[in-house]
Structures are given as C-alpha cells and as structure tokens.
Amino acid sequence: MPTVINPDAVPKSLVSELIRPSQVHGSLYTDPAIFAEELTKIWFKTWVFVGHESEVPEPNDYVRKQMATQDVVMTRDRDGDIHLLINRCAHRGLQVCDDQKGNSSSFRCPYHGWTYRNSGELLGYPYNKGYGGKGRLELGMGKVPRVESYRGFVFGSMADDGPSLLEHLGAATGEIDRLAGLSPKGEVSLDAGWLPHKTRANWKFLAENETDGYHPQFVHGSIFGVTGSPIGALYSDASTAVTRALGNGHSENDLRPEFRKFAEPMRWFGTTPERVPNYVAAMREAYGEDAERRMIEGAPHVMIFPNLFIAEIQVFNIQPNAANECISYATAVQLRGGAELNRRMISQSIGSVGPAGMLLADDTEMYERNQQGVSMLDPEWLDVRRGLVRETTDEDGFTIGAATDETGMRGFWKQYRALMEA
C-alpha cells in the first residue's frame, strides 16, 4: 500500500506564515503563544550559552544562572567537572540553592533537609524510615542533560540528543578562538561579575540588533561624539567592514578590513602599543610575528544564536523571561595574561554597559520603544530587506553584505524558522 502523507500530520509552527524573506511579522515579538513555542523548540532544545568555567574556578564552587525561564546552578564538582543543576528539590519542588554563588560539596534543601551532592544526586534525607530506610529513593535534582564547553564558554542543551555543541557553533568557533587569541595565554575569563539588565522587550530585538551595523551612527551618536570614538566610521556607507551570516543563525560584523587598512596595532581598542606596553610585549613573546596581525585585527563582534553576544570587549548573555521581557547580562572580557588591558576593559565596560553606561542605555531605549511599536496594528510587518540587492557569497560560502546591511538578521530568522518548524 502506498504511503499517504497527511499534510495535517506535519506539525505546523505558529510562525510559518509570519516570516518572509524580507519581512517579519510584529506578532512574533508580542504573542505569548509564540513565546511558549520558542521555549520548547529553541530554548529547551538547542545549545544555549550559560556562563564561563572561570566563574567556578575551584572544586565545589557554584554560581546561579538563568536558562530562559529556568533557574540553574552551575557547579564544579570535586573532580573538576561542570554540571548544570535545575534548582528544584526532588521532594516538594523547593528552590534548593538560594545564594547567588558559593562553595559547597553538597546542597541541603531548607524545607525538609534533603541533601544533594553538587552533581545533583540525592545524598540522603532525614528520618528515612518513612521511606523504608536508607538509600531507598532514587530522586535527584534535575539536570540539564547536555553540558559542554568551548574554550571555557559553557553551553547547555535541555534536549537529550541533537547536534553536538561543535556542530551548533560551526564557524562561530573561529570567532571565539579569535577572542582567546588576544590573550597572551590563549585564554579568556569571564569572572569580572555579570551585570543584569532587565529589558522590557522581546529577546529577539536584542539578538537582531547585535550585528545591526545600520543603527550605531544614530543611536550611539552622542557617546561617539563625547568620547571622540572612531567606531562610528566603521558603520557607514564608506566602510569596508562586512556583515556576515556564519550559518546556524550566527552572524558577525567583521571589522577586520577596516583595521587592516590602517595596520595599526591596538587601534581596535582605541589605543596605541605605547600605552599598553606590557600587554604588547606579552603578545609578541607569545605569538612572535603573528602578534602584530592579532593586535591589528582585534576582537570579534559576533552574535552566537540564540543568546551569546561577544562585543569586542564585553560579553552579553541574553535570557528571555516572557514575550515582552528579557534580561541581558553583561560582563567585561578578561584576557589571561593581559592585566593591563583587563583593567581598561573593566573601566570601559562600566562606561559603556555599566549601570550608567551610555551604550547599553541607548540600545535599551530602542528595544523598549521597538516593543511598544510592534503592539501597534499598522503596518503589521517589520522590514529586513536592507542589503538584499547587494548580498554576495564569500570564498567560504557565507552570505555577506555591507557594514550596514541586515544580512545578520536574515541569517537569524532562517535558523529561527528551521528550529520552530523542525
């Protein structure tokens, strides 16, 4: 008998009719039902950035983290392995761990004293006769089933199987490598502390904006003007920088062509080798001739789907709370062996994305106005066609556009749609 394919049997996504090659529908950012679908099909399925191994440097260290709506404890057990525990007691559901960070080999729930190892297994419980004696319960804390890290960046997947982390990251690994390659020791740490920034906007506005090279001149004009920053010129019609869709929803603003043009080490950081002599010496010591290239080309500006944004000197971790709210966590990049640069990266981060930081405030104002706007009824669609007329493919097969083009957004939506319709 021939197989009859019943079109109704194919699970249909709420978003299928809402994404076009050059337009996306406003309800994608406002509809709670779409948000619920995103949780199950994206946030609880694909690889999500959670934190960095350097946040739990010692055995038994732990830090609290967010994975979308889930409260997660990132622990390092005494053997050095990293775990992501779901912060929920197996008995009656209480939050087991209350502090934001600490060091403990085990966690004891405050409700009835159930005690768990920091790898999630149940160690014991008081008055065990009620359960038939010691060791009769096989209940542990929930665990994020797949935890993997790449160069210390820890990712979790709530799905038991699926593509590996390396398959998910694809070409984005090269960007993480590039960042780590600016450390004389080849290692980044993200232990300077994360600043949470609650934003009354849908998480996708943030993800799309991170490699939107069209907005900086307008939104950040004031801070560029005040600081005399040369960054504005990188995002103009005259710029040789490119926007690249790296596949799997990842995208970057590749500023290297501009920096190569000037061929000045440390220009990417807005400084000169004379002002950071120890760092420059350490880089030359570590990488020989290649040090110049690294210091000229600088750090990546890459958005890794769905929630890790490496913005040269900061890292952002975006986590959604609801259709109209998310939290953007920001921290300064710290390069192992780069003390001189690290101090500067912290003070620059405070100035740009700290509590009174101008860059973050500028962008957040746009996200929140954007969220307000999309609840208006007409026009229904947002436009993402910028650069379609001049998009090309580079030698590695990636789609590229000009510095100000919406190539990154279109790459984002392609991956979004693939996951939602899978």
């Binding site: 502090d99 008081p126 065990n128 006769k129």
Partner: protein
C-alpha cells in the same frame, strides 16, 4: 549580631570570631586554649552545639576519604535519625 568590617574581613564577627559560613551552614571557628593543649572549637551558630577537635582528630578529618566524608553528610547518618 552585627557584622563589623575589619581588616580580617566580614567573616570575623566580634565576640564570636571567624565564621565559615554559607547558606547551608554557619560555623564559628576558634582555637581554644582552656585545656592542657590547644584544640579547635567549632560552634554551629544555628543550634549552638559545640565540638572540640584535637589535632589528631583534625588530622583524621583531613585524611578521611572523600567517600567516607560524603556518607557523613547524609542527614540520616548522625543528625536526624529515627530513634524509635
């Protein structure tokens, strides 16, 4: 009980001494010299229960296999037991 910030850090509480604490336990740690030689005085600040550990006992704890120590962490092991 106010916590004073001094040179020894916020875990050094006046009249109580150094405290090793987390959200799961709060223990004050002092060296006691009332006996014929020094020993460690540990006080569970939540219950007030005190235990003295002599150097040999301390050495034993240091050498205790991790698995053995973990067994002792079971709340039923020694602390909350059915004694019916």
């Amino acid at each position: 009980m106010g916590i004073e910030m001094n040179d020894r850090g916020p875990f050094d509480i006046p009249d109580i001494g150094p405290v090793v604490g987390s959200e799961f336990a709060e223990i004050s740690v002092n060296v006691d010299s009332e006996a014929n030689s020094t020993r460690l005085r540990l006080e569970d600040l939540r219950t007030g229960r005190v235990r003295y550990l002599d150097p040999l006992e301390l050495e034993t704890i240091i050498w205790l296999a991790d698995g053995h120590l973990t067994e002792l962490l079971d709340p039923s092991a020694d602390r909350w037991r059915d004694r019916s």
